[in-house]
């Protein structure tokens, strides 16, 4: 199907890229239909709304900077996305990129979790206070031994 994306313009996608978030995202509850798109810059992906072409989020695999990150899913979460097996669970952190990209942050308190089998997902609120809405990605990568800054 042909869709309109915020960053990519018109693009053809496969129906397997279409994700349903029955509860939307917090603050964006009425947006349930989304697509997962590759970005021009790995390892980022786009979560593109299919209801509003101007609405899209940059997302990232949080284990790139937190290798042991595993969100805790409540029974209600699991119910909503249809009891994923471990290998069926996709986990993404939503990324905020300010003007100075060195200050890019990732949200580990509200990860996006998707059952790749049912292609249903949700933003799962984490109650573990270790996880914040703003983790500085470059700082955490540096702590892991990746010496770098935004280019």
């Amino acid at each position: 199907m042909l869709i309109q994306g915020r960053s990519c313009g018109q693009v053809e996608i496969d129906e397997r890229q279409v994700i349903t978030l029955p509860k939307g995202l917090l603050g964006f509850e009425s947006f349930s239909s989304w697509a997962l798109l590759d970005s021009s810059q790995a390892p980022f992906y786009w979560l593109q709304s299919l209801d509003d072409s101007d609405l899209a989020f940059v997302i990232l695999d949080p284990t790139l900077f937190r290798p042991d990150y595993k969100p805790d899913l409540s029974p209600a979460d699991i119910d909503l996305i249809g009891s994923p097996k471990d290998e069926e669970l996709l986990v993404f952190a939503i990324v905020t990129i300010p003007e100075d990209a060195n200050l890019m942050t990732a949200n580990l308190q509200g990860p996006l979790v998707i059952n790749r089998n049912t292609r249903r997902g949700l933003q799962s609120i984490q109650t573990d206070t270790v996880f914040k809405t703003r983790h500085y990605v470059y700082q955490e990568l540096a702590a892991l031994g990746n010496n770098q800054e935004a280019k």
Partner: protein
């Protein structure tokens, strides 16, 4: 909004099986006990608000994506 007065040790029932107890009142702080089915999620409102706010900021991110150099990861 429904407004109710409760004393310490008193309770409220909300819907089917959500029980809220007033456990302790100390100064301007109230300690609540909540019994709810596992399918009902209970969060501090601030967490909810913080994630909403961050989502709004994230939605306004630039579409020019920075480079992430993941050498150490690839060397694993």
């Amino acid at each position: 909004m429904l407004v109710l007065s409760r004393k310490v040790q008193e309770k409220l029932i909300i819907g089917d099986g959500i029980e809220v107890s007033i456990l302790e009142i100390k100064g301007d702080s109230v300690k609540l006990g909540i019994n709810a089915p596992a399918t009902i999620k209970v969060f501090r409102f601030e967490i909810f608000q913080a994630i909403q706010e961050e989502n709004r900021l994230a939605a306004a991110s630039t579409t020019i994506l920075p480079k992430l150099n993941l050498k150490a990861k690839q060397a694993d």
